[in-house]
Subunit: 207 residues, 2 copies
DNA sequence: AAAAACCGATGACATTTGTCACTTTCTCTT
DNA sequence: AAGAGAAAGTGACAAATGTCATCGGTTTTT
């Protein structure tokens, strides 16, 4: 199988090529060093798999993958990167990457390539473990360990829906002043400044 | 490698056993039919991999996996199920399952077992594709489609980070009054009432 | 060059928001 | 029944927010 290797770091690229070509069934037709090259080399060599770094000078790996997939929807792209950054993982998944491995996980690379070639998706353990953290639990917002009482939680949710104090008061059958008081204590406990930051907090940490 | 098979449906279990044992390097020491049996049989046979259904009478696959992993943290568990239900996928990931395949994806099972045995994580394409849907950022990231100009978009983003008008003014090198004016037009264009609703709009529809 | 369009800024204004110190009301406990 | 302690409310206040009309420069259009 043909594996196109693209990595910012020339040393890493050559090492990978050496390791991969030690396998009898793998050839590395070319080495790229950034996203632009990745796209051009992919067109030229039409490899079975593209093994690519994410962080690179110039066009990054994700944008390159996006461009390649637009042109070759069946492209098998396996990201090999140093950091398991949430942002990257999400974007890679969304793009339809076939895999996402950490460079640390060196001995996994060859078997991963075989697995991807066979149609599997391969994500390193660290990546898989991260996914639940990135996931929002849409069913029951994890509100249990927040230091808020029942009323404060209610108010937080309503703020996160965009209601103003008067509307919250009507919804909860409280006076507007009481709502303000509860809101005030909520802000203090969560260490945020105003209702907007509270809504943001809710979307980022709770829901 | 020893593969313990647990499936509600006797027919499926026997079919799997037959298929797997056609492989020279796979043996199936036992067949279980529910979660309780899975735990007992795992203790008894200490298989290399547990291949298990999720929906089963009695104890389900996820709870069984949870119990087994508590006892054997290195257990390699591969779920084989009919439905790619969001709930299940999230829980399986959280537990630390090594894989999650759909039964439809029949010919994937053997290579997947080999991959898992080799230390990989294997998730079917349908599952991987689902993950972004489960992610908290479901909508399209098309800032370009919004009827806002450059400044208004900047301000929207900063509001969505929780900055107040003064801070936005400092960040953008504008006067606070100007920021208010731009904010005002942004609110009108997006048909939201205040900065909190704007932040919510951003998290729901943009980012 | 004149007109139009645009960008940023002001000032005034009504509302909303958040904070604080208290009071009232209700509900338990003893 | 008395009192402690909640839950809820009040009033006052400063600050922040959002709206509006308008003004002074640029740049663009014609």
């Amino acid at each position: 199988m043909k594996v196109l290797v693209v990595d910012d770091d020339r040393v890493v690229g050559i090492s990978l090529k050496t390791i991969l070509e030690a396998e009898p069934d793998i050839t590395v037709p070319a080495l790229g060093q950034d996203g632009t090259e990745a796209v051009a080399l992919y067109r030229e060599h039409q490899p079975d798999i593209l093994l690519m770094d994410i962080r690179m000078e110039g066009m990054n790996g994700l944008d390159a993958a996006s461009a390649i997939l637009a042109e070759y929807p069946a492209a098998k792209i396996l990201f090999l990167t140093t950091f398991s950054d949430d942002e990257y993982i999400v974007r890679a998944l969304r793009l339809g990457a076939k895999g996402y491995l950490l460079k640390q996980d060196f001995e996994s690379i060859v078997p991963a390539l075989h697995a991807v070639f066979g149609g599997q998706n391969v994500f390193g353990s660290e990546v898989i473990k991260k996914i639940p953290d990135i996931l929002s639990t849409p069913k029951e917002p994890d509100v249990s360990e927040l230091p808020l009482n029942e009323k404060e939680i209610e108010i937080m949710k309503l703020v996160a829906e965009g209601l103003n104090n008067k509307e919250i008061a009507q919804t909860l059958f409280l006076s507007e002043g009481t709502v303000r008081n509860y809101l005030s204590s909520t802000l203090e406990k969560l260490e945020v400044r105003d209702r907007t930051q509270l809504a943001i907090y809710y979307y980022k940490h709770v829901q």
